[in-house]
Each structure stands twice: as structure tokens, then as C-alpha cells.
Symmetry: C2
Amino acid sequence: MTTVPSAAASRLADAGYRRFLTDLFGVMAYGELSAFERLSFDARFSPTLHDRTTLGRMAVAEFRHYELVSERLAGMGTDVETAMAPFQPAIDAYHQRTRPGDWYESLMKAYVNDAISADFYRTVADRLDPDTRELIGRIHEQEQGDVLLGRLRTALAEDPALGSRLALWGRRLVGEALIQTQRIGVEHSFLGELMRDGRGAQQDADAVAPLLSRLTANHSRRMHALGLTA
Amino acid sequence: MTTVPSAAASRLADAGYRRFLTDLFGVMAYGELSAFERLSFDARFSPTLHDRTTLGRMAVAEFRHYELVSERLAGMGTDVETAMAPFQPAIDAYHQRTRPGDWYESLMKAYVNDAISADFYRTVADRLDPDTRELIGRIHEQEQGDVLLGRLRTALAEDPALGSRLALWGRRLVGEALIQTQRIGVEHSFLGELMRDGRGAQQDADAVAPLLSRLTANHSRRMHALGLTA
């Protein structure tokens, strides 16, 4: 459980890559832990017991992801709590500024968070060692996004008035997510390092800009697919 | 996963026992689901990230218990949501009336809930078929109670003023738990049936009384063991 996979071992000898990986795993771990807590709490407001257990099951999956990342950090000899701490302010701020008003907003939030993280990890995947890529692939299965998308479609079909509210809410979610991603990019060099990779010296904030615009474009596409104006 | 264990199958032919088991599993399932949601939310207020993940892990265990009971109901051909519904008002009322004011109260609540449920299941165990007894044994492992007890002891040693507040809180918790247990006893015959077992016709409320006094006595013993006045 706590051994470092061999393919990662060579790159882990590089102190810069180790530092980068510690940050990446730290932000992932805290993101998963927070998602677990928020999702399981929001589940209580579900319209049916069935929805409640569906969201509960997703929350439990988030906690398992937290444990997977945590084990990987332990294998690197790094304490998960130390690795998470620097990212706590940005992620806490995101959640404080995007408290869902009801269950549908909470469902939308889970969908947007899941999609944006998947996008982000897809973007950085080819800059990672194969074992880290494999870990991230295991964490971001398509399945959860599909369940959320299906449930959102049903809700929107049942109540067409929900659409404009959720479109607005989606814009707010993605806006806050980008603000906090940028904040992480400015406060911690790891995002900048990642995006700048092999493209010379740029300011961290500039290096992160193309990532942000890609996340925004993908978000718009997803909202359109839901029939919402993004 | 969804087959009925053989030893239970014969007693399940008895419609009365089936009805009783449906109620028992229904109240257990909803209790576990609610405990999962509350515990994972309260975890956010933990003083350290370490405490946060410890409570999170416990919450995940509660959800696994919910799934175990849910599978057993499915094996009986009973829908878990239908089985849970009658017990939702009493369990929701318990949680609404015992909202922890901080993390220590939440820790105490988890400890008291865990101990009272374990007590309750110990009391009824010898009236159940072996497979149901085995299921309940798996769900109520000693481990969780020990972790909570250890953490409470540390907290009380670090801050002696916490003792009087938690003693008061413990009394309130057990009081509300007994009120809701009695309510379930009056509203649903299954508890009365269980306690009356082989002791002739009694009113449900009277049949439940010895159970309530046993739960109270055990609670007092546990509070004393923690150095608290119960």
C-alpha cells in the first residue's frame, strides 16, 4: 500500500518533480476530502431516499479517492496532512462561496466539480509519470459524471423553470472555481511549473491562463449539452 | 449478496418474524444512513486534519453498514426505502434536537449513539436468528467505540472545563434517544413484540420500559468511566 511504484521511483529522485507531486497530491487529497464532506451533507436534502443514497455512495467514493492519494503520499514518505495544508484556504474559500441553496444546486455543483477536475487532470496527464497517471485515471472514472448528468437531465425535464436558475448557478460555480485555481497558481509554483513545462520562463499567472480558458470553454460546452445557457 | 442465509430462511417463513425483521432492518438502515451524513458533516469542524479524517473514516463505515443491511433487505425481497420510511420521523427528530455545538459535542454524540445502539442490539440479540445476529455483530464492532472513547479521554485531559459541558450534553443526548426509542416502541409494534417475547400480553409502552432503564443505567456507567457526572 505504501510502496512507491517503480516507474515513478526514477523521476521521484528529481527533487523538483517530488515537490511538484507532493503539491499535486496535496491539492487532490484536500479536494477529495472536502468533496466527501460537502456531498454527504448535501445528500440529506435529496428529494427522495433513493437520491440520498446515490449521493451518499458518491461521497464514499470521494473518501476512497482521498485514501488512495494519501497512501501514495505515504509511499513517498510525505505526511498527507502536511501536503494538504497549503491548499486548504483556496478550497475552503471555494466551498464557502458556493453553498448550494437546495438539492438541485448541490447536484449541479457535484457535476461541475467533477467535470472541471476531470478536465484539469486530462490536461496535465501527459506531463506526469505513468503511475501517477494511472492513479488519476482510477480516481476519475467516467461513471460518476454520467450518473450526475443523467440525474440532472431528469430534473431539468421535470421542471423547465429549473434551467435558468441552474444556468446562473453553473456560471457562478465555474467563476469561483477559476478564481481559486488562479489563486493556487499564483500562491504555489506547482501549477505554473506544470503548464510552463518546456515553454520557457513565464510568470506563473500567465502560464496558468491557457488552462483557465480551456476549463471555461469545456464548461460552456457541457452547459449547452444540458440545454443551459452558460 | 442478495440471497437469504439458510438459517434465517425457516424463520422467515413466519410472516410475523418477517415483519419484525423488516422493521428492525429498516430502523437500522435509516439510523446508519443518518449517522453517516451527520458524522461526515460534523467532521469538518474537527480541530485537526487528522481528527477530520478519523471521523470521515467512521462515517464511511456507517455507510457500509447501511449497504449491508440494505442488501439483507433486498435478499428478503423488501425495498430498503420502504422499510426505512416509517422510522424517518423519529430519527430525524432525534438529530434535529441534538445538533452538536462544536466538534467535542459531535464526538460525544457519536460515542453515545454508538454505545446505545450496541447496547440495544446486545439486548435483542438472543431473540434473533443466527444470521441476523451475525450481521449485527459485524456492524457493531468494538473498534469504533474504542477510537471515540480514546479521543474523548484525550480531549477531557487537555481541557478539564470540557467535562461539565459534555456531562450535560451526554444527559441531553441519552434523554432524546430514549424519547425517540419510546416513540418507535409506541408507534410500531416491533419493539414491543421483541421485548414482550414469551412474557404474555403487555402494552407496547410497558414492554419497552425495561429496555429503556437498561439503556439509561449503561449510559450512566459509561459517563462515570469517563469521569463525568451522568
